[in-house]
């Protein structure tokens, strides 16, 4: 289905990633945004608040993030595409309801403009340390989808994709962006509506009395209905059967949980998007996502100037994780280099999937800034030279780290 021309502000803009994501949401047909302002995501919320009313999208500034995420799940069940926008502390508050949304198989999009943590951390500066939280933050077994754009243009394009995936797989989709991309300003081309593909909700169209809200189609995703249409919906966060009624039977619990994870896992190939460059004869592959992939580009260029064969694997989709791709590359290369603005999150996933076939080198960054490309280049050089197979994740000591830790952990003047 094509986007509704009314929802799309076709044109060429010079805007930041936050605003671009807001425009993307509206172009995707988002009609409800519940949020609570938090740096550095406020520009995105402001963009939807400013433009939303012109295209019939309702916004509400809720009393807190507990309320905003709950309102988004509610609005989705009322039948409209819904979104919330937040950052670190707000993201933490939302965790219980994200699991609830996954359990109810509710389509919605969550934009997280990551900032430096933990706790209040560095509100105005960047971080990539919520990646594992986005995957495992709510209790219990579930799967969801997370995307990590690296430019304002991608913030537009992938916000639309996030809505499309949420509707197709009836699950929460996270846009795991960060302050750098959120506050980076570049040209953004918003195409005409007839060039934008949007996924409509999978509405059930059979006889009303035969509808079962959790009876999956062949791809394991059940079609949906909305409140108010006479289905006598019974929807609960308790483990439930196809009717939605709670069940206590242990086997049913197995089946339900397995379907909840398998509807994502078994559709992985259709969900995952990667950008792969020069990996064919590479000895080292840099695995990166979000702003770190833009920074890695310089590091890779510098390493190539030194004659090192280095490829790049950019995770546009971070969750579900491309296990098979990593395993396949691990067999042909010496090492992975993983620069991320944290002390090791995705690097451990890369290590898990490489099955000991390649070294995995984490290039850490404590946050509030990005890597120096020279540090990434140095790590690539080290990776190419290291002949031993080293178990576990190797934490590379960057120049920045050496400088910072000159006097150990001393913080005062």
């Amino acid at each position: 289905m094509k986007a509704n021309p009314k929802d799309v502000n076709t044109g060429v803009y010079y805007i930041d990633g936050d605003v671009s994501s807001g425009y993307g949401a509206l172009a995707a047909g988002c009609k409800f945004v519940g949020g609570y302002p938090i740096t550095p995501s406020t520009e995105a919320f402001e963009a939807v608040c400013r433009r939303g009313p012109l295209v019939g999208a309702m916004f509400i500034q809720m009393e807190d993030e507990l309320g905003s995420i709950a309102s988004v799940v509610g609005a989705s069940w009322a039948g409209v595409k819904s979104m919330t926008i937040t950052s670190g502390p707000g993201f933490s508050l939302m965790m219980e309801t994200i699991g609830f949304g996954a359990m109810l198989e509710t389509p919605f999009v969550l934009l997280n403009i990551q900032r430096g943590g933990p706790s209040t951390g560095v509100p105005t500066k960047t971080g990539q340390a919520d990646m594992m939280q986005s995957r495992w933050g709510s209790h219990g077994d579930y799967e969801l989808i997370a995307i990590s754009p690296d430019s304002p243009q991608e913030m537009f394009d992938y916000t639309i994709k996030a809505f499309n995936l949420a509707e197709r797989y009836r699950c929460p989709v996270m846009i795991m962006s960060d302050e750098c991309v959120g506050h980076m300003t570049e040209k953004v081309v918003i195409p005409p509506a007839d060039e934008i593909e949007v996924e409509p909700r999978r509405f059930y169209d059979g006889p009303i009395n035969e509808y079962l809200p959790f009876k999956p189609d062949e791809d394991l995703v059940p079609p949906m209905v909305k409140a108010g249409d006479g289905y006598k919906l019974y929807i609960t966060g308790l483990i439930h059967d196809e009717r939605g009624y709670s069940i206590k039977n242990e086997e049913y619990k197995f089946i339900y949980t397995k379907r909840l994870v398998d509807k994502i896992r078994l559709n992985k190939d259709k969900i995952i998007e990667l950008k792969e460059e020069e990996t064919d004869d590479a000895e080292v592959v840099v695995v990166s996502y979000g702003i770190s992939s833009r920074v890695a580009v310089r590091g890779i260029e510098k390493a190539r100037e030194k004659g090192i064969k280095v490829g790049s694997l950019r995770l546009v989709t971070v969750w579900p994780f491309p296990d098979e791709k990593i395993a396949e590359l691990a067999k042909t290369i010496k090492a992975f280099v993983v620069p991320e603005i944290n002390y090791g999150q995705i690097a451990f996933e890369v290590e898990r999937c490489s099955h000991g076939e390649a070294n995995v080198i984490l290039v850490p960054h404590g946050g509030a800034g990005v890597h120096n490309p020279d540090d990434i280049c140095d790590a690539i050089e080290y990776a190419a030279k290291e002949k031993k197979r080293i178990e576990g994740v190797i934490e590379y000591k960057t120049k920045l780290e050496k400088l910072v830790f000159e006097e150990g952990y001393k913080l005062h003047e």
Partner: protein
């Protein structure tokens, strides 16, 4: 590729200068321009800066490594960022606000009383646009037409005329 840093203090329209230049380059001159900013409490009243990378091809690495151009509208900003300017760099200053050190290497310095000219035009708030006119004439990184369109696009309609006047004032200063 050109790497530019604009510095000043909060309230001088430093971020806006980056947006206008980036918009001129990317939308009207059809180049790539990536703007990043130093954002936060330190930007209010203190040193405020924006970085801009302009390139004929897609800008991949979005940050300034060595600046080709430093536009300084405050002494504190100049002191903080001067060392980032390359050996062949171009330094533009508001001469009433910045007293530069003796020039190092082959750095070329271009001076303008941007704030004073803006006051003469009626409002010191447009000092940044005077500076942009001067910047355009000196660096030729963005076309004059592109910059003027970007200025007109970036200010409220009732202030367009005044801003274009300010731009021209700065642009002509190069010729004097």
């Amino acid at each position: 590729m050109a790497e530019i840093i604009f510095v000043g203090f909060g309230g001088q329209g430093i971020i806006k200068s980056g947006i206008i230049t980036g918009r001129g380059a990317s939308i009207f001159d059809n180049k790539s321009a990536t703007m990043t900013q130093s954002f936060g409490p330190e930007a209010r009243g203190g040193a405020c800066s924006t970085q801009l990378v302009i390139s004929d091809s897609k800008v991949l690495y979005p940050y300034v490594e060595t600046a080709d151009v430093l536009v300084a509208m405050s002494q504190a900003g100049y002191d903080k960022y001067e060392h980032e300017l390359s050996e062949q760099g171009v330094l533009l200053i508001d001469e009433d606000l910045v007293k530069p050190k003796p020039p190092r290497d082959e750095i070329k310095i271009f001076s303008i009383s941007a704030t004073r000219f803006a006051e003469e035009l009626g409002n010191k708030i447009i000092a940044n646009v005077v500076m942009l006119g001067f910047f355009t004439a000196v660096t030729k990184l963005v076309s004059k037409e592109g910059m003027k369109k970007a200025v007109a696009d970036s200010v409220p309609s009732r202030f367009v005329e005044l801003n274009l006047k300010a731009f021209d004032r700065g642009f002509q200063h190069k010729k004097l």
